[in-house]
């Protein structure tokens, strides 16, 4: 497939946007796109793939038969003219695949018959009950919408925008292994408010949940809609609204006849008077399968692999699918596989991985959704429905959202439980107090170092909450997992505390693996308090207070940089010196510095002065000669003298406390270097000392 790559370009209101996805051009892919078929079945068509298509192309809606896969429907059309622009609706009806590449909507109206299109549009318009929304969206932010689109999971299915730069760099277009779901020209299709309405709950219009529902705040909805419509202004009220559509009853009546003839109601929810009866299949070939333009037959433009797979399926369509097949095909149909791996299959592909972001401290587990391997026996039967309904979310660090699929996933938990079942291995009775110790950081396994416990944040990296372990996880799976976490999820940061089944901690419960795991499980079940060993909060204990001598300390400091050298004087005046460019940057009074993070935080944040009256030197002028920092010397009183060279000439620079200020002196060989460009901070009075001259300049700064 990769050989077919052609860079495609798409115009959007004058801005030409290169599209990464490799095959938008309809001439290359006229067929309807079922992502999972493209990804898992197209290379080698099978009856399985055919079953997926039979469901996902709506074949079952006309011809009957239960594939086991959640029903695929067309969108609800009742209020379509309150949702999309009338002109776009007509364009889509006239040639669906031209209006949106890869659509599963077949061509159903007579070819080249604009009057038929007009009539159907009027019929659909006549169904409208809802008024056009008068709700206005005040403020929108295109850039934020773009950021959301590329981080919350939209691009797991839809193609990313080539102008968007993910943190690790853009993937190469040639790395795309399967196609993305294309959008229509959304600015032709929607108004800002109607797209926002759709995004707020796509299941209202698409109850089959092939576009699932994300949990979005109102501003997310507005910004996403603005991005998708390429609307770059700030005031949503300036965005074009939906065009009014006046229904002509005569045309609507003609449209009603066309809709009945085209059997639209097989896939779309429409009034009873246009209902389409099931048409049992006679053979396993011919008809819609052949892409022929027979009037009255929907035309799909199936690809050869799609035709082959459908024929294979139809030849054996009376054989029911096994639960395992149904489970797999359900996860494919809903494109769960876009984000989740199951048994080594699926999950974000190389290209789309770049858009999965999260907490980098958690490694791959901090950015990619979890595998679905064995999920039916990993999660308790009562927990998986909570995940699917959005009641439970345990990985707040993933930027990618788990969306909601409504009724389409109602049967999924029971199905997965049935398919994934394995022999149960019960845990021995658990010792609650041993569990408290094991989970804790005082001689235990320090689980709380990386995992939250209820409302208590973990001590270090913020792995997911373990307090609901009992409610979430089945004991058999837990035992297998804990002995070899990497076997379940390669690349997990979770180490094994029972490598090869042998306990690393021999001191608790005699190192008995099963009893230790049971103790942890039992403690989680008991709800009795929290694991032990949370340290008392430290604050202020690491304030550096210069007493008899100055203190020199390197750190990262905001506005100073990564080469900051701090000097704190007992007199209560302090300095931040840039040890890269050999120049003072900040001076302040009062408290000096809290060294806690510099000394003991893994994450080395950029610090701020602890005191007040911070004054800042102006940035170096671009014309200044290059300076090279060479270090510092401490004198007997531990006052540093900074050393650097300017054009090869050694300069010594020294700061000492003065009355409510600092005295700065610079020494160099004036025979070799005439003078230095010396800047002074704002917020102080600057006095050049008497005797200051090239080669030996000194200044006194006093806070105003």
């Amino acid at each position: 497939m990769a050989g077919l790559f052609l860079p495609a370009f798409r115009g959007r209101r004058g801005a030409v946007i290169a599209v990464l996805a490799f095959a938008l051009a309809p001439s290359l892919h006229a067929e309807p796109l079922i992502v999972a078929f493209d990804r898992f079945h197209a290379a080698q068509p099978t009856a399985e793939g055919g079953r997926l298509l039979y469901n996902e192309l709506g074949c079952a809606n006309c011809h009957g038969g239960d594939t086991g896969i959640p029903t695929r429907r067309g969108p609800v059309l009742t209020d379509v003219t309150a949702r999309v622009q009338p002109d776009w609706l007509k364009k889509f009806l006239a040639n669906p695949a031209a209006a949106r590449a890869g659509t599963t909507m077949p061509h159903v109206l007579p070819a080249n018959d604009p009057q038929a299109v007009e009539a159907v549009a009027h019929y659909l318009g006549s169904l409208r009950k809802a008024p056009i929304s008068k709700k206005q969206i005040r403020v929108v932010n295109f850039e934020r919408g773009r950021e959301l689109f590329h981080t919350i999971g939209c691009v797991a299915c839809h193609e990313p925008d080539a102008e968007f730069q993910p943190p690790e760099g853009k993937p190469a277009a040639t790395d795309f292994t399967h196609r993305s779901v294309a959008h229509a020209k959304l600015d032709e299709k929607y108004a800002l408010t109607s797209l926002a309405d759709f995004l707020r709950d796509p299941l209202k219009v698409r109850p089959d949940a092939r576009m699932p529902r994300f949990t979005l705040a109102e501003e997310d909805v507005a910004d996403l809609a603005a991005y998708l419509l390429n609307f770059k202004e700030s005031y949503g009220v300036n965005a074009p609204g939906l065009k009014a559509f006046k229904v002509d009853p005569a045309l609507a009546a003609r449209g009603r006849a066309l809709v009945t003839a085209a059997r639209c109601a097989a896939c779309h929810d429409l009034p009873k008077d246009v209902a389409a009866k099931t048409m049992p299949l006679k053979g396993g070939s011919g008809g819609c399968l052949e892409n022929s333009s027979v009037p009255g037959l929907p035309r799909y433009e199936l690809s050869a692999p799609q035709q082959d797979a459908l024929k294979l399926f139809l030849a054996q369509r009376n054989q029911p699918a096994t639960p395992a097949q149904v489970a797999t095909l359900t996860l494919e149909a809903l494109n769960c596989m876009a984000c989740h791996d199951r048994n080594g299959r699926g999950g974000p592909d190389l290209v789309r991985k770049a858009y999965f972001q999260g907490d980098h401290n958690l490694g791959d587990t901090g950015r990619y959704p979890p595998p679905l391997t064995d999920v039916g026996r990993k999660l308790r039967p009562a927990w998986l429905p909570k995940v699917l309904t959005g009641e439970a979310r345990v990985r707040p660090y993933l930027k990618t959202q788990m969306p909601l699929y409504g009724a389409a996933t109602t049967n999924l938990p029971a199905l997965l439980a049935k398919v994934d079942v394995k022999e149960r291995k019960p845990l021995p009775p658990g010792d609650v107090e041993a569990g408290r110790k094991l989970l804790g950081a005082a001689g235990g396994l320090s689980c709380i170092t990386c995992h939250r416990w209820g409302a208590r944040p973990s001590l270090g990296i913020q792995g997911f909450d373990l307090s609901n372990l009992y409610q979430r996880i089945q004991p058999t799976w837990l035992q297998e997992y804990l002995i070899n976490p990497a076997g379940y999820r390669a690349g997990t940061l979770m180490p094994s505390f029972w490598p090869e089944g042998k306990a690393a901690n021999m001191e608790i419960l005699g190192g008995d693996t099963a009893r230790q795991i049971a103790a942890i499980y039992e403690f989680a079940k008991s709800g009795k308090g929290e694991p032990e060993g949370y340290p008392a909060t430290a604050s202020g204990q690491f304030e550096l207070v210069p007493k008899e001598h100055p203190i020199v300390q390197r750190t990262f400091m905001e506005g100073v940089g990564t080469h900051t050298i701090l000097v704190g004087f007992p007199e209560g005046v302090h300095l931040a010196y840039d040890g890269e460019h050999a120049r003072p940057v900040l001076a302040w009074r009062g408290k000096f510095f809290d060294a806690y993070s510099t000394w003991f935080s893994r994450f080395a944040p950029f610090e701020k002065p602890l005191g007040e009256s911070v004054v800042k030197w102006p940035a170096a002028s671009p014309g200044d000669p290059p300076v090279r920092f060479e270090g510092y010397r401490l004198d007997a009183k531990r006052v540093p003298t900074f050393l650097f060279t300017v054009e090869g000439v050694r300069v010594e620079e020294r700061f000492e406390p003065a009355e409510n200020g600092l005295r700065r002196s610079l020494k160099w060989d004036a025979a070799k270097l005439k003078d230095l460009s010396i800047a002074h901070p704002d917020g102080v009075t600057v006095a050049e000392d008497s005797g200051s001259a090239p080669g030996k300049r000194s200044f006194t700064y006093v806070w105003k």
Binding site: L350, H360, N361, D364, A441, A442, G443, S446, I448, T449, C450, P457, S458, L459, G460, I461, A486, A490, G491, P495, S496, P499, A504, G533, Y534, P535, A536, A538, Q541, F542, L544, V545, K547, E548, I551, V552, Q553, R554, T562, H563, I565, G568, G579, A595, T598, W599, F600, S601, R602, F603, A604, F606, F629, E630, G631, R633, L634, D635, A636, L643
Partner: protein, 521 residues
Amino acid sequence: MRPVTGLKPGANERFGMRAISFRKFFFTALGCTFFFAFSAIAADSAYEILNLLTANSPSASRSADWKPGEGIALEVSGMDFTADGKLAVAVRKGEVWLIDGMLGGSPDKVTYKLFASGLHEPLGVLRDGDSLLVSQRTEVTRLRDTDGDGVADEYLTTARGWNVSGAYHGYTYGPKRDGQGNLWVALNLDMGDHANNKTGWRGWGGIVTKSGDFQPMAAGMRSPCGLGANLAGDMFCVDQQGTWIMATPIYHLRRGVFFLNQEGIGSQDLPGSPLKLPAKLPNKVPYPEAVRAVPPMRPPAVWLPYTKMGRSGTDLAVCNAGGKFGPFDGQMFVAEFTDAKVSRVFMEKVDGEYQGAAFPFLAGFASGLVRLQFAPDGSLMVGMTSRGWTSLGTKSYGLQRVKWNGTTPFAIHEMRARPDGFELTFTQPVDAKAAGNPESYSMSSYTYLYSSAYGSDEIETKPVKIVSATMAKDGRSVRLKAEGLRELFVHELHADGVRSASGAKLDHALACYTLNRIPKK
């Protein structure tokens, strides 16, 4: 008696003394008990782990609120011995301590003296004449005491020239000297906030020029935490499993080579780069294919397979103890963080390139190992800190010492590649019947998937048939003839059936040989 760090009065002020007796820091007699309990579970009875100073704070070391607890925060990040036999210890909070008297065995005589402070997360210290060189995040600094009061008063910038973005993982490792006197430094990739690996030699190793600049030499590293030269003077470096890095590798550093991680190769476009890689680099291919496709790409001399030889290698030390550390002079000891272990590595040269075998050595340390340093008396100093990551062991930091008790361990001493198999030598005479029986051995070989993912499973695993095992006359070595050797694959040997002449099992029957090249003769 004066405060050197200027801490606020309170619990910590008593450490602001320039020389502190060991007694004050050897917290309780329980510490001793704890240590002996530990050495009793050490796998190898010929070696004991002795406690010098371990934290009394719990190892909740990822805590945002972590504190060092009472005493010196001896989160060891660098070690070397001074000319007068003191151990210079760099600690992560930015200090260098000189520890004296600890090899004598009398805790009362041990003194700790603060030599330098205010440094930025120094991760290495090296004696250099009358100075100590320490690596800070931003530079290598020469510390010197010019007035003889035992405290450094010169902090001179000795090497610089790499990008320091402020990302927490932008560590500087080294410096270490090779046999030609070159001073080597290695730079961690940036990770997290502020990360910028596009420029400034992140993921590279290099040497320090006379003018004090960084001269890049080798690329493709991720977390090249430990450097060290072997007895021939060649420089090696241990990296850690992570993105692009499938397991812990040991690289032979030299000019113009690329190892594994592609995230920092943008620097090859900077002036001074000794490397130009092809525009298209492999991803998601079996490792041997990747090596063959990219000529400057050099395989690690030795892989330490994940979990079998620990997880995250952090340092290496080549034994030159003159027999005082058992029979392993010339071999390399590799520190490991997560499992708090030490592995042992034997290397040989085949066609001019290093390769060799890794063996388990010793486990049961108090915290995540970060630094190893052989002492003048042949014992091995082990510096630990687990702050920020998880490790086995119950302490958050400390200094321990491994001592050989004089009994010869029963181990595979060397494992050499042969055109048709391997040759093993043992540290003790072996039972000829057991060692000469091919059924005493089992072997498989595997490689890894080279990709941007974090680590790799072992892939393409196949059994390697040991068709014969022929004892040499010396009664200590055996030739294994094997079918199905594969170049660039790790060959994992289990010599479970081997017995010593006195009937003992091997202390460790596992050996993992990285067969980059099959010798022609």
